[in-house]
Amino acid sequence: MKAFEVVTEPINPQLYSDYVLRPEAGAVTLFTGHVREWTKGVRTLYLAYEAYVPMAEKKLAEIGREIEDKWEGTSVAIAHRIGELQISDIAVVIAVSSPHRKTAYEANEYAIERIKEIVPIWKKEIWEDGEEWIGDQKKKPKEEIL
């Protein structure tokens, strides 16, 4: 494994947790993002993720560096899976270790927010009656109506 990687096989979160664990760490936060069946009343059958792999891995590593600069003593590992993912499969794992708990939580949340901003990975939802590439979720017309 690499500390920052895009993978095609199922993700084993333990690998990433173990990677960031060090004697000086008092906390490891492990976030796993999963494929959700229902989104606003629409049933997803499965998801297809695609990435611009070299740039995505570079940007994941950049997020890791941002965190290690922003929160002293942290260590980060992130993996994102691409291809076809079934309901409840792990799409992303983020492991952050730090001397104290609060930092590990904060840094982990920062990582997922940054992934959604800068990492070139795209998700296509496949429903019973169609499919759609999901874009900037903040600007979805459906949400504006709601």
Partner: protein, 77 residues
């Protein structure tokens, strides 16, 4: 020659995942104009261009040999 990569919804628009075109010593803005002529609608404020795996500014220069990607809004996680 430069290599162009298209992803997700942009690939649906172009109908191809990548292509090589003659383009050298011109700006990202120039590439936008070329792309919008060839693929009307590709130019959109939410689509970004990356040159050699870094997000680029409109004034950045593209050289022969560069790898350019059209990046629609990302949705990882």
């Amino acid at each position: 020659m430069i290599e162009l990569h298209y992803f997700a919804g942009i690939r649906v628009l172009t109908g191809i995942p990548k292509e090589s075109v003659y383009f050298s010593n011109q700006t990202v803005e120039d590439l936008w104009k070329w792309a919008d002529e060839k693929y009307p609608g590709i130019r959109n404020s939410s689509v970004r261009i990356a040159v050699n795996e870094e997000y680029a500014m409109p004034s950045d220069i593209i050289e022969s040999g560069d790898v350019v990607a059209f990046i629609p809004p990302v949705s990882g996680g």
